[in-house]
Symmetry: C2
């Protein structure tokens, strides 16, 4: 049984092309699904917008496009004469999701090459306009979509989301290694579902354990972006299409999400300043 | 923007070939990751074994192979002279995982065609021997691995795991539709992380909502296989490599897992009897 090698070793893909007018492209990934990656991506995008930035959100989770449900928006985007696609607007964000193209319960049973072409289309044909941040919600794992994204545009960096459970951290480490292999800066690691406060007795339970993401971040030398608690209000906000951060920073479940977003902003600025040439300058 | 079609429409793959000596092949899938698919697959396999069946467990979750961690087993399987692979033994199960081939933190950054060949190898070259059940832990979603599995061996049926949150159910519906499109019997749907009992005050909180899987199962006309609570002991059992069902049915967190496994047995018998010719008879 021979261990397979990296795909298409002899094949050199075209170099990533910057998106004109987009200041920073930040991917949100995870090794494991169900860790709240999309929840954090959606709330992060809204906080950035509330803090005065121009923000786009690209839902690239082709097999589980949950962004439309979480933002309470679903419509066919307009296609203009020259095959340019107009993103939808929701809660101040420009949004594109594969869920807009494929609403309802029909699954996308696509093999990899099909994914590559749709990612390229989402990046190249959508009229994002001038953005300070384009947040990209990746599918979990280390598969075709992440590869295609990295090969298509220069990512400013990637956020890795994990719960504190050993199982989720095991997969998160693989995601960090993937981004490193692909020469993508890791913005940092955030711990989601960090602890649960019982609404009846106010006592905490570490359902998925606690603190593991901070430890893993330290081991791997990547910044730690904070912890977000397991709060049924955050989950309900997603299920209802009204993310909790819309209520502002003073609402209890939103506080850790605002803190997380502020750390992301600082890290993105840091990466851009050390990179010398930010993608913002390239036309 | 044209909606992509199903892959390789003109290509007719070879018909699935039964695995000689294997009574039932049951896939455990989910639309969304992180819903506890692997936890339920591992505990299901162990319960089946404890109830007297001969059970194999194939970890086909190529991007997040968590079965070795959850079973506390990791070693290189022996490869015999004629390229046959000997599965490992753990807790009474015969086990094969891509995690045995790729231990540690290195990610598998494979595109789809590579996945197809490893799935075929896992099914064709592993010496499973005589089994009553081969449980296959699929990756979440509706992608390459599920397609390859369905095209390689005749599945007796597939279990769909979901949490009760709207977001997870949205993706679970897609998984049900995928199995239907591929003519795979749905064994049923199971609700995981159904509710949480605070260990301090014993009061329940429906962190991920509750009851949605049973409703969805009814809507789609698929059997409901029961609910498993969100219990930190179940998660810890996985993180520690000692699944909770090893303590027997009388241990509180194991009870719902035993009930789930018994419903699976009943449904598999039902599917095999109505199918006329079960895979068990084919040599």
């Amino acid at each position: 049984m021979s261990a397979p090698q990296a795909p298409r070793p002899g094949h050199q893909p075209p170099a990533p092309q910057p998106l004109p007018g987009v200041g920073a492209i930040v991917a949100v990934g995870s090794g494991k699904g169900g860790v709240g990656k999309t929840t954090l991506a959606v709330n992060l995008a809204i906080v950035l917008s509330r803090l005065g930035h121009r923000v786009g959100l690209l839902d690239a989770d082709v097999y589980g496009p949950n962004v439309p449900l979480m933002l309470g928006v679903s419509a066919q985007p307009r296609v203009l004469g020259d095959n340019r696609i107009e993103p939808l607007e929701a809660h101040g964000l420009k949004v594109i999701s594969v869920g807009f193209l494929n609403p309802g319960d029909k699954p996308l049973i696509w093999r990899g090459p099909m994914l590559h072409s749709i990612i390229r289309q989402f990046l190249g044909s959508v009229m994002w306009g001038e953005l300070d941040y384009l947040i990209v919600d990746l599918p979990p794992g280390t598969g075709d979509v992440a590869l295609s994204l990295i090969q298509t545009v220069p990512l400013t960096g990637a956020i890795v989301v994990s719960t504190p459970s050993d199982v989720a951290l095991q997969d998160a480490r693989k995601a960090i290694e993937m981004f490193r292999q692909m020469k993508v800066d890791v913005v940092g690691m955030v711990e989601n579902m960090s602890f649960f406060v019982c609404p009846h007795c106010n006592r905490q339970t570490d359902i998925f354990s606690r603190g593991g993401a901070e430890k893993t971040a330290a081991q791997f030398g990547v910044p730690y972006l904070g912890a977000v608690e397991l709060d049924p209000e955050i989950r309900k906000g997603g299920d209802d299409g009204r993310p909790v951060v819309l209520d502002g920073e003073d609402a209890a479940p939103a506080r850790s999400l605002f803190n997380f977003a502020r750390r992301v902003i600082d890290r993105v600025e840091e990466i851009k300043s050390t990179a010398g040439e930010g993608v913002i300058h390239i036309q």
